[in-house]
Every structure is written in C-alpha cells, then in structure tokens.
C-alpha cells in the first residue's frame, strides 16, 4: 500500500499500485490488478485519478515513442509520454502539439481522458480534435482500436471519458508545423469584466492564443490582465533554459491567504500593467508559466486546495461571470490563479468533453473546509441556472446532480465503461 494524493493534496489515501512499463505486459497486469484506474502524472486536482484501498495503474513508465512521420506530423506514442517529452523533442524539428494545457507535465493519456483545452480553443478546439487513433486495453483482455473515423462511438466515449472506458495504452496524434519556438505576445490591462468581453472578441479574430487573469480581490470592479499571442517566424533557440525552482517543503499554513492575496495580486497586476506590454516570448514561458515552480501545489499548506473551473454558455457568460466573481468577493475567499477564457464554437469530440461554446472561469481556493464548500454551493447555483458545467479534471466535490445536468450524454456513455475500472470520482459521480 502506498499513500497517494492528487494535485490538490486534499487527502492522502492508501492505494495498491501496479507500475506499467512494458506495453506487452499491460493486459496481464490489468487482469490481475483490478478494479483500478490509470494514474499518470497525478495532475488532475481532485479524485479522478484516485482509487482509495483499490489499485492504481501507474502509466508514467509507458513512456516510449512508437513512430513519428516527419512529413505529415503524425506521432504515435505510449500513453505515459508527457507533453514535455513531445514538445522538447519535436519542437526543434518544427512540430508542436496543436493543443496544450497550462502545464506540460501531463501525459498523453491524461490529456485524452480529460479532452484538455488550451489558450487557443477558439482556433484549435480541444486535445481530442487532434487525436487520430487511440488504443484501449480493456480489463477483460480485449483491445479496442478507435478513432474519429474508426469505431467512432468508442472514440467519442474515450475522449473526455475520465479513464473509464479502458486503459489508453497508445495514441496517434496529429502535430502542427511551427516555424520556431517564439510567440509575439501582448499583455493588456483591463479595469473591469465589462472590458474583457469586447477585448476577447476582438483578439480572437487576429490572435491564436487568448487568456485573461482576473484579480478577484480588487474591490468593486474586477480588473485583470488580458494576454494574447501568435507564433512568430523567429527560428533561433535560446542557449539554455532556466532551471526550475522547487517548493521543497509544505508550509504549516497556506501561503495563499487573506493577508497575502490582495497585495500579491495588486503587485502582479501593476508589474504587468506598467512593465510588460509587447514581447517575444519563448513558448515554454507563455504556455507553461507555473512549470518553472516545481510542486507549487505545496504552497497551499497541509490541507491542500480546490480548483473550481466552470464553463457558462456564451449568452449568459458575462452576467454569470460577474455574479460568480461577486460571490467570491463576498465570501472573502480569494483566488490567485483566476483565469478567464472564452471557448469557441467547435463541438468537442467526447461524450463527456468539458469544452463548449462559452466562457470558462478557473479558480483556486485553499481548503478551508465548510467555508470553502459554502462558496462552491453558491457558484454551483450560477452554473446550474445558466446550464453550464464544472470541469471534472479539476473537481473533487461537485454534487452528482450538477454533473448530470452539465453532461447530458452520460446515459449514452455508460455502456462503454469497463467494469474493471473504478475511481473515487466514478463512484461519486456515476455511482460505481
């Protein structure tokens, strides 16, 4: 038994582990150690990758590439390969992942199972839109090959399928060509949420990447920083990359708290507003700012933290976002990593994919138990009323009815589940 927690560090629970490394052995490992759930880099925040008292299939050892076609950009690899492995190996050869989330310390399998999105959703959709083929190992020993044009119903269940349709062992991904590793980026300060929406609309026409940071501790209005960018043609490579720093201890209390948050947010806002406008930014710094602080999740202290990410349909997006920020301000709880982003109109491939046309707000809160949960209930009410949804990859607590309301294709999804797979999240949200 090994104590394992997820990225939110809310609780550590005992698990049996089965470390997968040789893909020829996976079928046997799964049939002898079940029920279980895949665990890659442990970057999902809540209980999606946990299975207390049960088994975890560790996929980090499935880190082999299988094939790369330099002419077409088709990459086939094992599911435990991280996005960082791919970017660092292939970006110098002119190919990059078309969609990448805010960290590259995640596995290909995890990105498929959560159908993750990035700052360019309005142009490139989500991760599943670029997956050509997935190989699923079922716990009964069978293997299912699926893709958008081959066994598409299995593919649609597996993309965003929370790891519940089988263990993803391999995937084939379409990469995109790039000229170089640099982006022209621009940071624009805004004074209120009302300024965000026109800014976002205008930027999406000309910019591939758009995202905003919101200072939810600022009193009346919600000021923030809008960031946008495009790949440029600079083909030079930096000589050496910065060495990351590590949060090596867990502080006794959360360093993100009432006292620290307001001055920290203000300092961040003004430093960006005054000093950083237009720049040429290396892709790692632009896509993955937090990857330079290893184990940053420790700064929330021993009780861990929650993420709350929702998407609200576009028509109600502005009002709902304002209402949610108002609730947060009223609660006195704050969020440092408050991220606002609009999603484009492309329909996601997965039955349980999170992205939909609308406005997504992501927030983090140090765990303060009852107080934090009370706030979540008020946020839930807004999501429920506007027919939005909460992102399972970040979730550790949403009520089952909210999940069911947000993901209407659940009953279509259920027949594709592997009965030998179960997670803390599947038991919480699907009852098994």
């Amino acid at each position: 038994m090994v104590m394992i927690s997820s990225w939110g560090r809310l609780e550590q629970k005992e698990h049996r582990i089965s470390a997968l490394s040789d893909r020829a052995q996976i079928a046997r490992e799964l049939s002898t150690h079940k029920p279980g759930i895949a665990y890659g880099m442990g970057r999902s925040y809540g209980d999606e990758c946990l299975n207390p008292e049960g088994c975890l299939w560790l996929t980090a050892g499935l880190n082999q590439f299988i094939q790369f076609d330099h002419a077409t950009g088709h990459l086939t690899c094992e599911s435990g390969v991280t996005l960082r492995d791919i970017q660092r190996l292939l970006a110098p050869r002119g190919w990059m992942l078309p969609v990448t989330p805010g960290t590259q310390m995640v596995t290909v399998g995890g990105c498929i199972a959560n159908d993750v999105h990035g700052k360019n959703h309005h142009r490139y959709g989500s991760f599943g839109d670029h997956v050509l083929r997935v190989k699923l190992q079922r716990t009964d020993g069978s293997v299912i090959d699926c893709g958008p044009n081959h066994a598409p119903e299995w593919f649609s269940a597996t993309v965003g399928g929370l790891g519940l349709t089988g263990l993803i062992t391999e995937a084939e991904i379409q990469l995109r060509p790039i000229m170089g590793p640099w982006l022209d980026t621009e940071t624009i300060a805004f004074d209120s949420i009302d300024e965000f929406f026109p800014l976002s609309d205008n930027s999406e026409r000309d910019c591939e990447y758009t995202v905003a940071w919101v200072d939810c501790t600022s009193r009346h209005t919600n000021r923030g920083l809008f960031m946008r960018g495009n790949h440029n043609a600079d083909t030079t490579w930096p000589m050496s990359s910065k060495k990351p720093i590590t949060v090596s201890v867990v502080p006794p209390i959360s360093l993100v708290n009432k006292l620290s948050l307001r001055p920290f947010n203000a300092a961040y806002y003004y430093s960006k507003k005054w000093f950083a406008r237009k720049a040429s930014t290396f892709y790692e710094g632009f896509f993955y700012p937090l990857d330079n602080v290893l184990e940053w999740n420790r700064m929330y202290g021993p009780r861990g933290f929650y993420q709350y990410q929702s998407v609200i349909p576009m028509d109600e997006g502005a009002d709902a976002t304002k209402e949610m920020l108002r609730q947060i301000a009223r609660s006195g709880d704050g969020s440092f990593l408050a991220v606002l982003k609009t999603f484009g109109t492309r329909k996601a491939k997965g039955m349980l994919s999170f992205p939909m046309h609308g406005v997504s707000l992501a927030l983090d809160f140090p765990n303060r138990n009852g107080q934090t949960h009370a706030l979540f209930e008020r946020l839930d009410a807004v999501v429920r009323e506007t027919k939005g949804r909460v992102y399972p990859a970040k979730d550790a607590r949403m009520p089952r009815e909210l999940f069911e309301a947000g993901f209407p294709r659940i009953s279509e999804f259920l027949p594709f589940r592997d009965p030998g797979i179960s997670s803390a999240m599947s038991r919480r949200l699907l009852g098994a």
Binding site: I17, A19, D22, I66, L75
Partner: protein
Amino acid sequence: MTVQDRMKRIAIVGATSAIATHCTRLWLCDAPAELILIGRSPGGLARLMADLRVRSPESVIRMVAANFVEPVAIRSLVDRLFEDGPIDIALIAHGNLPDQQQCQADLAVGAEAITVNGLSPVLFAEAMAGHMEKLDAGTLIVIGSVAGDRGRKSNYVYGAAKGLVGRYVQGLQHRLAKTSVKVTLIKPGPTETPMTTHLKQQGMPLAPVEDVAKAIVDGVAEGKRTVYAPRKWALVMMVIRHLPHFIFARMNI
C-alpha cells in the same frame, strides 16, 4: 578516423533495463550515435529501438538478442561487435532483484541471482575489456549497486553478487591503469524501475530513474572511477560501511 569524425559506437548490455534506457536517451540528446542494443527479449528490444529512432532519427541502431550466462556465447558476441569496429562506450546494465527469502530457501534461486547479477556482467566486462585494452581505447561502464558495499540481511545474496562486480571492476581498473581505457563502476541507490515496484509498494523512497541516469552519464563524462547515483549515496554508504558491528547488528536494514 577519430571519434570526432564518426558517430560514437555504443554497446548496451541489458538495453531494455530502465537505467540503461534512460542513459541511452541522454547520450542521444548530445549527438546521434551508432547503438547496439543487447538484451534477452526481442520484443522489448524492438520496442526500444522504435522509441530511440523517433528520439534520434540520425542514429544507426540495431539489436542483438543474446544469451547472458553462456561464456562461449558471450565471448563470440563481443568478438563480433569489435570485428565491426571499436566500441567507444560499453554499458553493462542487466540484472534483476531477487527475493532474499527465496534465495535462502531455494539454493537454485540464489545461484540464479548470483549468476545473473554477478557472474554474467563480469564475463561481459572481461570480454569487452580485452578488446579495449588491445585498441587502447574505450569506456567500460558496469552497473553495480550500493547493496554491494556492505552485506545486509535484507538482500545479501544480491549484495554479494554486486560486491563481486565491484571487486572485479577494481581489479580491472588496476590492470588497465596504464592504458587509455576507462572503467567506471556505477552504484545506484534504490531506483524507481520495474525491478523495484514491490519496494515502492512497501513505501521505500526510490530515486527517479531520470536522476540516476543523469548522475551516471555526468559521472562517466567526468571520468570518475566510481559513481554513486544519486550522489548522496556516497555519503550514506560511507557511514554504513564504517558502522561498528555492534551497532550495525541492531539495525533492521
């Protein structure tokens, strides 16, 4: 033709082992190479070869499925490698972690453990060393273990085999001291690999294999004779080696 003009030739025995795989990846990050992957499982070797070809398309890679215990087979395999040209780096990395209790209960298990972890690497090293000595060139890397530094009740059969490797490398370094051949003994601490999953299950802290491989590749590049990986194990093992018996005897390690 000097090494600078051509690709390095690297032979890896036990190429599919996690530590060897990660060392190979690091070497290929520096420059493409000519690789000879030697192992027991043709399937595992083929998968590794495909992976390395994606990582380094300019490298020339081939695989050899081999017998690891038969002295005549080892000799002829190594002779053939050197017939094709000099080997610049030979990494001998194969082994397994036997269960100490089983080694005590069943002498056949103990014999197998000592053969695979002690005798076999030594035979490979001896075969390689002869050629390297004649050419007066080459780097020979042999993986031992911190377990070889002092016998402990929890794994002394494995420790004895690795101790054998350590003493053998010491002698080989003495023999080749006046040549240009470099011989390095690697002593990894407990490392997170498929070989140690059961230790992880018991909650033992294990070093990430990437860190161990980095320590090995850096240590070899610096020309060290002995490399503890990660480096902290040099200090830990110095203490353990020097503990007086009356204290050591009380320790449950």
